[in-house]
């Protein structure tokens, strides 16, 4: 048998083994058996020296062709096998996709903080600058500077917690007005959001502690129409396009003309329901043109400048939007409640 015959036999034997190989491990041993350093094909190459010189070139070429052919066949077969093996592996990894997932316990913003942030964003967009003002306030800033005459019945709605003769827990964030105007000159467009306190027993709609947003503007030529427009802007952004704002006369010592702000009842769209007492309107806060006495009190000439101010309760807004009937839930911090919002 010539060396070429040997080569041919080797070829058919190897190809048969490759196509019969049942796993990538078997294929690997076939690869070693024929193409490894001590493999049979490699062994054929070593025999070249014993051949007659005129046969050596052809034989060498034939071995190399065989080597490439077998390597290619192994690669093809390996591809087939690993795909099958992977399929089998994946098939064995089945999960019941209807088993519950492992929920991440994410943190969560308190609904009042979220409300305050939304309010803040709206007023910043309307050109307001945010400032902080203290909870523990002086009688001067909370009442006197806001044009409350001594012993006025208007203070009945502002029953206060006192720390000492001249310091109290602020009953309204409006107390920031005078503080700001003492150190800043017009034009001013200021906003504060914070905690207020009133001497009131707690029930579903009243708390001794609550939160307010207060804004004021002082500039040349500010009008009541500007106040109305500003609050309509706020209501639209906060509650939606369909919500209207109603102004009607009301009394607060620090504004004149004074107004009550109400919005279209968001529950009945103004048609009248239990929440709005059939009026179609929900009271949101108080507003008005800053009283000349307040401006004079900080040395601003009310003939040169005018301004408006308004304040609104924070709690009422999420209560309306989310149908929360009892404001005590906000400070109870039951996570089952907080996580819903």
């Amino acid at each position: 048998m010539s060396e070429l015959d040997t080569l041919r036999n080797l070829r058919s034997e190897a190809l048969a083994k490759i196509s019969a190989a049942g796993s990538s491990a078997v294929l690997e041993s076939i690869d070693t058996e024929y193409l490894g350093r001590k493999g049979e094909v490699t062994g054929l190459l070593r025999k070249i020296g014993s051949l007659p010189p005129d046969e050596r070139k052809d034989f060498g070429q034939a071995v190399n062709v065989l080597k490439e052919e077998l390597a290619a066949a192994i690669a093809v077969r390996l591809g087939q096998l690993s795909s099958t093996e992977l399929d089998a592996k994946l098939a064995g990894e089945a999960v019941d996709v209807t088993m519950p997932g492992r929920l991440f316990r994410t943190g969560h913003t308190h609904v009042l903080v979220e409300t305050m942030r939304r309010i803040k964003d709206i007023f910043i967009g309307l050109g307001y600058e945010m400032v902080d003002s203290p909870d523990i306030e002086s009688y001067k800033y909370n009442f006197e500077a806001l044009n409350y005459p001594e012993e006025h019945p208007a203070m009945d709605e502002q029953m206060s917690f006192y720390i000492n003769d001249h310091r109290l827990l602020r009953t309204q964030t409006t107390a920031f007005q005078h503080r700001v105007m003492e150190v800043r000159k017009p034009p001013l467009r200021m906003c504060t959001i914070g905690r207020c306190y009133r001497y009131e027993n707690v029930d579903a709609t009243h708390g001794h502690t609550f939160h307010q947003v207060d804004c004021f503007t002082v500039d040349h030529g500010i009008t009541m129409a500007d106040l109305k427009g500003t609050l309509q802007q706020f209501a639209t952004q906060m509650f939606g396009k369909a919500v209207g704002v109603r102004f009607r006369p009301d009394f607060f010592p620090f504004v004149e003309p004074g107004a009550e702000i109400a919005i279209t009842c968001v529950l009945c769209d103004g048609g009248g329901c239990g929440v709005c007492k059939q009026t179609g309107w929900l009271e949101l806060g108080g507003a008005g043109m800053i009283h000349p006495n307040v401006l004079k009190g900080v040395g601003i000439d009310p003939e040169e400048y005018s301004g408006f101010a308004f304040g609104m309760g924070i709690e009422r807004m999420p209560m309306l939007v989310h149908s929360i009937s009892d404001l005590r839930v906000f400070m109870e911090n039951d996570v089952r409640f907080l996580r819903q919002l």
Partner: protein, 694 residues
């Protein structure tokens, strides 16, 4: 104030539905809060006659509009809204003015507190029941019928807004009336039977010898109308609002009378109201008037004239209306006005003491024009809005803590002093002088007790795995003894930090000291604070060996650790709980103004581990400090891999394994360089801390 609409209709013609007039009054500033039908049977059941039903409005009178606290006051407001005129009751004023004689002398000794005092005497009245129609009116207003004389004083007060008082003349010493401040030590038994001690700044109505009424607040029992009364002195007076308010508050008694005087009663109506009541007494109780009107009115109060610049009104209201239109609007409200040289001159009637300046008239113009008809604009000038630094910082703190899986909470600032005390925090606490209750008598000095209560409440609701935080003010007394406040950020956690899941063993995620510390370290890292240090600390409410004080730039900024079991149980928390509380103000000051990014490394790093046996006396932080010092130049970072104790190591020591990463920013490090650094580090650890290597 409850208002009978039947009664209202007697004084103004209402040609629209009650719903419509309610709406118009509301839009004029007099809010009709409720409109309720009351049947005749309901009046009868309440002791009235109940010939017909009524619709009773509940109106909310703003504190500046005392003139609305009467039927005629509301009728006057309603009149221009229905194109009608208000009608006063028919009274024979001229006849009374012509009468002579003053059977009871009246003197006002303190005219600063009593502007006017009208007294009329009526004799031979027969005290008995009031007629049914009058009882119905009183019941509709929420008052209880008593007898004809008292009912008439109440009826006229409701009708005209002038509080009245009827004295039994035979029980007045003198008889005479002296309006004066109380004398030191004087007392009076008021009609409600209470003995009241009077202070010398309280105004009283006295007879020759003693106070017989607290001016504008309540009459005295010793001179009150009783079944055998025949002769009456009727008082119709005008008292100073501030004085009445102070007296009523000090004595703790608010009456229909004091409520009206506090809000201002029209001084011009005193005589009219007195005559109206006397006529009713004579008609319904059969009395005979003795003498005339004894009207002591030292300084007659005249209508105030105020000027209004039409341009000013338009500037404030954002309108463009002509002076003539302004005139029409004001006159419609009963504010007699005319135009003089382009300026509106208004004579403000005495029933509107709230109108004293131009801006008050501008409000009236706006009210009459209709707030709802005013245009809507935005301020002409645009301005740049912005958040404040603290606001942004608070938002950032919240974002980081939320990303750590914590739920944001909001708790009361007012808490129970005893709770603060049990946490050792009452030193310098701000105390509320007039608390609602003992549970709310102090301002919180820290947030931790409140947050532990939140944990306890949630545990009680069956939520075992809770972690919460709050960013809020805490309060203290400053060095000058004044209350002050600062911003605090705190957290509390108990149970698993992951929650419960079918393929997670809950205990493997149980919060512990290092979870809590990890939150604090994450928070500090995320806001850009580097180099915070932690030292063992002691606090009354904290675990004695699991509490750390946090330092930034060498300054203490807060604490963290495990809560003392007794303290946790004290607020109802079950199991172990962990808390931290940091001064947010201090944190904000330590935050770098700007962060400069480092270039990312281009050369590969080499990692090494090392385990050593260390005495418990040596804190881990000291070891790491030594490692950092000795690895200077090529040590990029060092971390702790493990800590364990065993019998083999022995008591008082533990094994700590650390990992190090070496890297050069200029070239690829060789193994030899890393090994040399490891040798230096080992030597330094032995030298500084006496550690041993196994």
């Amino acid at each position: 104030m409850k208002l009978s609409t039947n009664w209202l209709r007697e004084h103004v013609d209402i040609n629209v539905s009650l719903d419509q007039i309610a709406d118009r009054l509301t839009m004029a500033g007099l809010e009709v809060e409720e409109s309720k039908s009351v049947s005749g049977a309901q009046f009868a059941a309440a002791g009235g006659e109940g010939l017909s039903g009524d619709v009773v409005f509940d109106v909310k009178v703003t504190p500046n509009r005392g003139d609305w606290l009467s039927v005629i006051g509301v009728a006057r407001e309603a009149a221009p809204l229905v194109d009608s005129k208000m009608r006063l009751p028919q009274v024979d004023m001229d006849g009374f003015r012509a009468r002579q004689g003053k059977p009871v002398p009246i003197s006002i000794q303190d005219p600063d507190l009593c502007r006017r005092y009208v007294g009329i005497v009526i004799r031979n009245v027969k005290i008995g029941e009031s007629p049914g129609w009058m009882k119905d009116r009183l019941i509709a207003a929420g008052m209880r019928p008593i007898n004809n004389a008292v009912d008439i004083t109440n009826y006229v007060m409701l009708e005209l807004g002038q509080p009245l008082h009827a004295f039994d003349l035979s029980l007045l010493h003198g008889p005479e009336i002296v309006v004066r401040r109380a004398r030191p030590g004087e007392t009076i038994t008021s009609i409600d039977g209470e003995i009241r001690a009077l202070a010398d700044d309280m105004l009283v109505i006295a007879d020759r010898d003693r106070p017989v009424a607290i001016a504008g607040v309540m009459g005295g029992a010793e001179s009150e109308i009783n079944d055998s009364t025949t002769d009456i002195l009727l008082e119709s007076a005008n008292f100073d609002p501030v004085s009445v308010r102070r007296t009523s508050k000090r004595l703790g008694m608010t009456t229909e009378s004091s409520y009206r005087f506090e809000r201002g009663v029209d001084p011009s109506i005193s005589d009219f109201a007195a005559v109206r009541a006397i006529e009713l007494l004579s008609e319904l109780a059969g009395g005979v008037v003795d003498g005339g009107i004894n009207d002591v009115y030292p300084e007659v109060i005249k209508p105030l004239t105020i000027s209004l610049r039409p341009q000013r009104a338009n500037d404030i209201l954002g309108l463009d209306i002509a002076p003539e239109s302004i005139l029409t609007l004001l006159n419609g409200l009963g504010l007699a006005s005319r135009v003089v040289d382009g300026t509106v001159e208004t004579a403000v009637p005495t029933f509107r003491p709230d109108i004293t300046t131009e801006i008050d008239l501008i409000e009236e113009v706006g009210r009459a024009y209709g707030y709802d008809k005013m245009p809507m604009t935005l301020p002409a000038k645009s301005m740049q809005g912005r958040d404040n630094i603290l606001g942004r910082f608070k938002d950032k703190l919240a974002r980081v803590l939320i990303s750590c899986g914590m739920q944001e909470a909001m708790t009361n600032s007012m808490i129970e002093g005893a709770l603060v005390e049990s946490f050792g925090g009452m030193d310098g606490a701000v105390v509320i002088r007039n608390p609602l209750s003992e549970e709310l008598n102090a301002m919180r000095t820290m947030l931790v007790p409140n947050l532990l209560e939140v944990l306890a409440r949630n545990q009680a609701y069956g939520m075992q795995n809770v972690s919460v935080f709050e960013i809020g003010n805490v309060y203290f007394t400053d060095s000058a003894g004044e209350p002050d406040e600062r911003l605090s950020v705190a957290g509390a956690m108990a149970g698993s930090i992951w929650g419960e899941s079918w393929n997670l063993p809950a205990e493997s995620f149980a919060a512990d000291f290092f979870t809590c510390k990890g939150v604090v370290e994450t928070l500090l890292e995320r806001i850009g604070i580097v180099g915070a240090t932690f030292e063992k600390a002691q606090r009354q409410f904290m675990h004695p060996t699991r509490t750390a004080e946090v330092f930034v730039d060498g300054r203490p900024i807060g604490i963290l650790g495990e809560v003392l079991p007794q303290s946790a149980e004290g607020v109802g928390v079950k199991g172990r709980s962990y808390v931290f509380e940091l001064s947010a103000d201090a944190l904000m000051l330590s935050v770098p103004e700007r962060v400069v990014v480092m270039n990312l490394p281009r050369f590969p790093a080499l990692s090494r581990h090392m385990a050593m046996v260390v005495s418990d006396d040596i804190p881990c932080a000291a070891l790491l400090e030594t490692v950092r010092g000795a690895g200077a130049g090529i040590l990029e970072r060092v971390g702790v891999l493990d800590e364990f104790r065993s019998d083999k190591i022995g008591e008082g020591s533990r094994s700590i394994a650390i990992s190090m990463v070496f890297r050069s920013s200029e070239r690829t490090l060789t193994d030899e360089e890393a090994n040399d650094a490891m040798t230096s580090i080992r030597e330094a650890l032995i030298k500084d801390h006496g550690v041993s290597f196994r």
